[in-house]
């Protein structure tokens, strides 16, 4: 029930009913985007990456936040490598 998948909004198919065509891993699906339009004109949503759950887009995926999360993990990886190197050299 928690299953949500990312997809990219390609076009608005029915602006009255807030429906859009979303590309989900190559497959195109009609999705209700009422929850993510916000104050914007509906056409501005084209190109958004969204999290889709049972036919509804529930969140716009924040690219900057995603990049930041990955950057933190890269930093953590570098810190771990440093630590491992220090341990190896102190054993020598």
């Amino acid at each position: 029930m928690c299953l949500g998948i990312p997809g990219r909004i390609i076009e608005i198919s029915d602006s009255t009913h807030r429906l859009a065509i979303v590309d989900v891993g190559g497959v195109k699906r009609e999705v209700n985007i009422a929850c993510i339009v916000g104050e914007r004109a509906i056409d501005e949503c084209v190109g958004d990456w969204v999290l889709i759950h049972v036919g509804f887009a529930m969140s716009v995926i924040d690219e900057a936040q995603a990049a930041e999360t990955l950057r933190l993990l890269v930093e953590l990886g570098e810190a771990q490598q440093e630590l491992a190197a220090m341990r190896a050299s102190s054993k020598g």
Binding site: M1, L51, A67, E68, A84
Partner: protein, 381 residues
């Protein structure tokens, strides 16, 4: 970026495991039991097994599987109510797929379908509404299952039906809420929990501030987590880091999807259509206050609970079932007396074996962990 593969990078996973090991080895000195981290939602239980994360973390960390699987906590009496509605002449009963095989006291929905009831699996409540449009002479009921993640979709579908003046569509509302459930879990005297992986997609709807009471009242750390392997490992690291630093805070690891204040449009739809129930019955956990919602009186004409007479009985689990203890995290699935014997995915006795997110189904599918546990990253360092 397409937001999946980047969060499955094995190199970053190794770094996270090493970082977790570093903290845990220092912290675990002199402790008589592992750190118990509860992953609340079924999607996380599934991710932990599917990606072998329980095998990657050191044995000083144990995952306690929480009750956040709405199918798993569906009481038998409620399944009986679904079957009663589905077997009413002139009704098309629509539902998400995972509810089909949950045993009722007489039969499951799948068995009722085999016996001739018109029961259809749908992916989205919008599909159920389409069935109603296409069958104006029949009454279409949608089984509204799920936590806050699914509530907006159901609410928006009811609002759509209202806007179109559709009169043959109703919702059998079984939506339950996470915060009340977590409080009930934390109040269990026999549970020793050190921290939480917070639900990712429930939080996308309700935000993260609803969990503040867990830090302030119960002094436990909670990290809202995404569902990819790196998300889960990152969140475990953040929980264990909090414990090491003596902190109890609510953190958001899933910031790319979860906004702090939730989704305003979704919350507005939910508030319009639903109201809190004083209490709701959960399989294994009994009655929990303010843990469910029902439809408001203004939406009575879309409310299957008002339109249909159902048995509405409290039905106890079969005698040899231990779903309750597994749901509360007291027992591991393999400790249940019927796990793998009378209760298998082919012949499930309880809902935990039926649902793809259930702990028992996951244990069965991915194998018994103790036997499979291999060398961990710390051994190689």
């Amino acid at each position: 970026m397409q937001y999946i593969d980047e969060f499955r990078d094995p190199d970053k996973a190794s770094s996270l495991v090493a970082a977790i090991n570093d903290i845990v080895k220092r912290l675990a000195v002199g402790r008589d039991r592992p750190f118990h981290i509860m992953e609340v939602c079924g999607g996380h239980t599934h991710a932990i097994f599917r990606y072998g994360i329980a095998n990657m973390v050191p044995p000083e960390i144990e995952f306690v599987h929480g009750p956040g699987c709405p199918v798993c906590v569906l009481p038998m009496g409620r399944v009986d109510d679904c079957v009663a509605i589905a077997e009413t002449p002139g009704v098309i009963f629509t539902t998400f797929g995972d509810a089909m095989r949950v045993p009722g006291s007489r039969k499951s929905l799948l068995q009722a379908k085999a016996d001739g009831a018109d029961i259809r699996v749908v992916y989205s409540p919008l599909d159920a509404l389409e069935v109603a449009r296409k069958n104006p002479d029949l009454e279409v009921v949608f089984f509204g299952l799920g936590f806050e993640t699914t509530m907006p979709s159901t609410a928006l579908t009811v609002l759509q039906a209202e806007a179109e003046g559709i009169s043959n569509f109703s919702l059998f509302c079984n939506h339950i809420t996470i915060p009340a459930t977590m409080r009930a879990i934390l109040d269990q005297p026999d549970l020793q929990l050190d921290g939480f992986l917070g639900p990712g997609h429930v939080s996308m709807v309700i935000g993260t501030r609803v969990y503040d009471f867990i830090a302030t009242d119960y002094k436990r750390p909670l990290v809202v987590s995404g569902f990819e392997p790196l998300d889960v490992l990152h969140s475990v690291w953040r929980v264990i880091k909090q414990i090491a630093e003596g902190r109890a805070e609510i953190e958001n690891q899933y910031g790319r999807v979860v906004p702090r204040d939730g989704n305003p449009a979704a919350l507005a739809a939910i508030t319009k259509v639903f109201e809190d129930r004083e209490f709701f019955e959960w399989r294994g956990l009994g009655s929990i206050e303010r843990s469910g919602v029902r439809m408001r009186k203004s939406y009575a004409r879309f409310d299957a609970e008002r339109k249909f007479a159902t048995p509405s009985l409290k039905v106890a689990d079969p005698q040899n079932c231990q779903c309750g203890e597994v749901l509360k995290g007291i027992l591991k699935p393999r400790q249940c007396r019927v796990f793998g014997k009378d209760c298998t995915p082919q012949t499930p006795l309880g809902a935990l074996m039926v649902s793809s997110e259930g702990a028992c189904a996951a244990y069965y599918q991915y194998g018994d962990l103790e036997g499979l546990r291999g060398p961990c990253a710390a051994d190689a360092a």
